[in-house]
């Protein structure tokens, strides 16, 4: 026991080390890669335009304005002080754009993850207890098909049907612009705008949660203590949720944490389809305009957030279930 816990600590430390190292790797990449760039913003901006012709002096002036000649240490310090430079396209600080978009992304992703985890969990538990019934089989089939549906496709289809064809939901944005609304009306309005992107994400995340819960439940059900609980004459609901499901919860919690960690990256495409003003749309527009500081900041900060989430998960994980200290591999 002593030995295994020491081994576990060692393993955890090495994992934490790996995460820190990869965070550093990402920061270094985001510092290094742009400087290797052959073309730059000035060329990208003006080479395609026919109305603007720059003289050599003007061009070098622009270049000097936009160049980022700093050492790596300076880059790190600026990063920590939230000084992420100015957007080329909007001329506002990148951090401002970032923090304007972040709440919308968080709202979308946290609610999508919670909804998908809840529904997936309940469906998984119920399916596992009705093994080999028609209910289970059709649910598993649905889950498998949904697992094969990429977010791009669900997003586009939902947008086409419910927003553009039926007109039930708005096609873009997170709130009605310039509308004078009371707080309650505003909440409803936000919910209305949230529905479609949320649905796309829940459909994307549900099957993974469902299939995972079902598998771990099936493993739990075959344990003797479930038979004991049945023999005691406990109600089905009680057995399912108080006895069995609790022990099948762990993989789902892990997945939930990992999913939450990848949320920032996960919704780029869906946000773009529904023109939801989160980080995804910000990144998309930045890519279109070759707005380098913005791309750099979003990529970097969201990957650091991912790594921080995983590290946090790693730290709290052992307290969730001491049995599986070693099982957490990823």
């Amino acid at each position: 026991m002593m030995l295994s816990s020491r081994r576990f600590t060692k393993k955890r430390i090495s994992l934490l080390f790996a995460y820190s190292l990869s965070a550093l790797l990402m920061i270094w990449l985001s510092y290094l890669l742009p400087s290797l760039l052959p073309g730059d913003f000035v060329t990208a901006m003006y080479s395609t335009s026919e109305d603007v012709t720059l003289t050599a002096a003007q061009e070098s002036e622009l270049r000097a304005y936009y160049s980022q000649d700093t050492g790596f240490a300076k880059y790190l310090i600026k990063l920590i002080r939230l000084d992420w430079g100015n957007s080329y396209a909007f001329l506002t600080p990148v951090s401002e754009l970032f923090f304007d978009a972040l709440p919308w992304t968080l709202l979308l992703l946290v609610s999508a993850n919670i909804l998908a985890a809840l529904t997936g969990f309940i469906a998984g538990v119920e399916a596992a207890f009705r093994r080999n019934s028609r209910f289970e089989r059709s649910l598993v089939s649905c889950g498998t098909i949904m697992e094969g549906l990429p977010e791009i496709c669900t997003g586009v289809i939902l947008l086409a049907v419910f927003s553009l064809y039926l007109g039930w939901f708005p096609a873009a944005g997170a709130e009605t612009a310039y509308a004078e609304l009371s707080f309650q009306e505003w909440l409803l309005d936000v919910g209305h705008h949230l529905t479609l992107p949320l649905a796309s994400l829940v459909i994307a995340y549900f099957p993974g949660n469902f299939l995972l819960t079902r598998t771990s439940m099936i493993m739990v059900i075959s344990q003797p203590y479930i038979k004991t609980a049945q023999a005691k004459g406990l109600s089905g609901l009680r057995i399912r949720y108080a006895h069995a499901a609790r022990n099948a919860l762990l993989p789902l919690v892990t997945r939930f944490g990992l999913r939450l960690a990848f949320t920032v990256t996960g919704a780029f495409v869906v946000e773009r389809i529904h023109a939801y003003p989160g980080l995804g749309t910000l990144l998309f527009n930045a890519i279109r305009l070759r707005d380098l500081p913005v791309i750099q900041a979003i990529v970097l900060i969201s990957s650091i957030m991912v790594l921080a989430m995983i590290m946090l998960l790693e730290l709290v994980y052992a307290s969730l279930d001491p049995r599986v200290q070693d099982a957490y591999q990823r």
Partner: protein
């Protein structure tokens, strides 16, 4: 045991569906351009014209035949997925076997490297690289492969640790077999099922990422791809291009991802030892 698994495989409806779809896509990407008479990149037709006998799916905004583009896009996506999966499988298998067989410092080094790579968000690196350098898509596939091999190699390593203790491998060592002989003659073929799972899993991931990157406009616009078709068609939604321009790539992409998903899920069910143990056990 072996025959039993094969029989079970043939009866699995998911694997069957996946196989049929796979066959369909393979045929379409190999022979598709022979059937469709248009050049996918030729801009010579009336832009935005509706479907007719000559253009079964109509013409896009640049005056290109949509069906030809679709066939080309499917082929590109499949090629991207296969390239990435093949490269990451090769790296993953080699490193997994080496780490598992030799152990010690080699194992430690490789596995720590794998941990670091596992933590790096691959899509972010891809976004950064393709936004900055716009490398050719197949280079992108290889870069992606360099980032995602660790899961394969971890599974291979774990299984190698089990197989290396088995009697026939020990016997081979006793008889003086060299390291490379054991790795290539014993371990490599024995772990075959894991390769199938790893390969199809990575293929799915790569196709998904290719579509997302193309949709975001990060892959060369001159190259046909499903993500980009969706992206452009979405701009013209008000022209009722739903069923001839937007839906076909959406459908193709879903079916492609489904094909691989079905294969992955049924292979895992069949071959993953942790899941196999619970096969046939009755529920409460």
């Amino acid at each position: 045991m072996h025959i039993n698994a094969k029989k079970k495989m043939l009866r699995d409806p998911w694997l069957l569906t996946g196989g049929i779809l796979f066959f369909f896509f393979a045929t379409a990407s190999i022979f598709g351009s022979a059937i469709c008479p248009h050049d996918p990149s030729a801009m010579e037709f009336t832009p935005l014209s509706s479907p007719c006998a000559v253009h079964p799916l109509g013409v896009n905004d640049c005056g290109q035949d949509i069906l030809a583009g679709l066939i080309c896009a499917v082929r590109n996506t499949v090629l991207f997925g296969l390239t990435c999966a093949a490269v990451s499988l090769c790296i993953g298998v080699l490193i997994g076997l080496t780490a598992g067989w030799f152990g010690g410092i080699i194992d430690m080094l490789f596995m720590r490297l794998a941990d670091v790579l596992l933590a790096v968000p691959a899509i972010m690196v891809l976004i950064l690289i393709s936004a900055l350098f716009q490398p050719p898509p197949l280079t992108l596939a290889v870069i992606l492969a360099l980032l995602i091999w660790p899961t394969i190699s971890k599974a291979i390593r774990a299984q190698t640790l089990i197989v290396r203790e088995s009697p026939h491998v020990r016997a081979a060592v006793q008889m003086g077999a060299g390291n490379s002989y054991i790795i290539f003659r014993h371990l490599l073929p024995e772990l075959f099922p894991l390769y199938l799972i790893g390969f199809s899993g990575k293929c799915r991931m790569a196709m998904f990422m290719e579509a997302s990157l193309a949709f975001m406009g990060l892959i060369d616009p001159g190259r046909k791809s499903l993500g980009m078709m969706i992206h452009y068609a979405l701009k013209y939604y008000y022209l009722d291009v739903w069923w001839n321009w937007l839906l076909p790539p959406v459908l193709c992409l879903s079916l492609l991802i489904m094909t691989v998903t079905f294969i992955v899920i049924s292979l895992e069910k069949m071959l993953d030892p942790r899941l196999r143990e619970n096969f046939g056990e009755s529920a409460v």
